[in-house]
Amino acid sequence: MMRLIASRLAQIAVTAAILSFCAFLLIALMPGDPIDLAIAGDPRLSAEDAARLRALHGLDQPLMARYLAWAGAVLEGRFGHSRLFAQPVAALLWPALLSSLELLGLALLLAAGFGIALGALAALRPRAAPFVQTLALVAQAVPSFWLGILLIILFAVQLGWLPAGGEGGWRYLILPVATLCFANLAAYARHAAAALTQALNEPHIRTARAKGAGERRILLAHALPNAGVPLLTIAALDAGALVSGALITETIFARPGMGKLIYDAVMGNDFNLALLALLVVAIVTMLATLAADLAQRWLDPRLA
């Protein structure tokens, strides 16, 4: 187990290193650097000043040296400043990460809860199965940004019940969480239905029935734990999709999370912030995947 964790952590570190290098390279290859932007902002800057500033910030160095200097600084915890927000990057990342985790955690919890409930409905009541299947098919195909807009139009513009965006109390969370939850519901519903149908046909369920266990106890105590393993697989596989969904949701509902931070940074040409935020998001996603994998092995020791 420890060896598995160590090797997976090493994989995550390697992936993050390759990702940071590729992204750094692509960004550095673009025409124009921060000094060019400074010139655009202050036309009195002379050519000598520009050259001196470039040398001061190491921008005249070869690409590889610049990457190594940047990576070294990041590893030491010096994330630099955001040009767009005029703040240290670290001061921006932390609140954004918390905001995103709040949204993601709630959405994941609700998506898994409703998804499993729908799956159980389909598995226990065959007459409800086509309804659940149709709902899952539609939920899988709905573009989440469209759903977000429709919810805003209905609940914020027409009815005026809920705020259209921003961050504040729980009222600001309802629409974004609903949007993100619906987008991730389908996978859980489909797989819960399949896994529960299979689990309910196992001999030990028949034994439990023969011994007189109630339907509720059979479902909760005997079938669900067995169906939990494939569901954790979905959770692990979908971590990336969930984070991707958060970017759209946060952008539509103007929530200051990681997704919106990356989007704003990209739109504002603040690539240092974008790159670091992307790395944080990627590492957190991969750690979440690892956690789901470990939980899976804990539930089903045969996998370990």
Binding site: T15, I27, M30, L237, G240, I262, T285
Partner: protein, 271 residues
């Protein structure tokens, strides 16, 4: 399966018929008509007009051409790359398999959209792509989406190819002295038709969804060329004036992705 194919065929026909519809209604989907802003649905404008007085139905059909082209291009490229990678991994095995599949796993573990947002914002000229025009946008987005889309295809192809390569008829062909290239082309590839079809159908749906997402965020197809995504971005700014404008592009995306998923499900059930 049939429902999915019918849905996709209807959408493709609608996209092809865009110029015909423009001729029949007598408007230009690109020409502003400022006296007719936010027109209600009528015989002249079946879905009404947008904030510049352009016909929404015609823009929707024009958007279908753009969105479906991006989807098909990206899915085709992803399928070709994915099939080659999956086949190579299964056939060569060993280090090839390990390296290619680690790469696939790594790409799969990353959150795709934040990465795509950063990549889509980069200057396309850096990697030798033209910039600016709608055709260049279509190509740029298709390339980006294919760069991520091949992973799903490769995994599906590799899994099936591994089992096909171990079957008796492949061993028989090899024993008869058939060259490896011919074994792969004539004996293995035809057996992979079903998984490749499934992966392609899913890739088309995924690409249409991803393109519309990027265009919605302002990083995909740039206006004035309409795509379903940038029409929705436009509609979000007009939720007070024209709430209905947000309905149609989203519905079009929904139906396209639904059609693709239904086709993929249908092929999977037939095997």
């Amino acid at each position: 399966m049939k429902g999915g194919l019918a849905l996709l065929a209807a959408l493709a026909l609608a996209a092809l018929a865009a110029p015909l519809a423009a001729a029949m209604l007598g408007h230009d989907p690109f020409l502003p008509d400022l006296f007719n802003r936010f027109a209600q649905p009528s015989a002249a404008h079946p879905l009404g007009t947008d904030e510049l007085g352009r016909d929404l139905l015609l823009r929707l059909l024009q958007g279908a051409r753009v969105s479906l082209t991006v989807g098909l291009l990206a899915a085709l490229a992803a399928t070709i790359i994915g099939t080659i990678v999956g086949l190579m991994a299964a056939w060569r095995g060993g280090v090839w398999d390990a390296v290619l599949m680690r790469l696939a796993d790594g790409l799969l573990a990353l959150p795709a959209l934040p990465l795509l947002v950063i990549l889509a914002a980069l200057d396309p000229a850096v990697v030798g792509l033209p910039r600016g025009e709608a055709a260049a946008d279509i190509l740029r987005i298709a390339v980006l989406l294919a760069a991520f889309g091949w992973v799903g295809v490769a995994r599906l192809v590799r899994a099936t190819a591994l089992s096909v390569l171990a079957r008796d008829f492949v061993r028989a062909a090899r024993a008869l002295g058939v060259s490896e290239g011919r074994v792969l082309w004539r004996h293995v590839l035809p057996e992979l038709a079903a998984p490749i079809a499934i992966a392609t159908a899913l890739a088309v749906g995924g690409a249409v969804l991803a393109e519309s997402t990027l265009s919605f965020l302002g990083l995909g197809i740039a206006p004035p060329a309409p795509s379903w995504g940038n029409m929705l971005a436009n509609a979000q700014e007009l939720v007070f004036q024209a709430p209905l404008a947000a309905l149609w592009p989203g519905l079009a995306i929904l139906l396209t992705v639904l059609g693709c998923n239904l086709v993929a499900d249908g092929v999977a059930k037939r095997r």
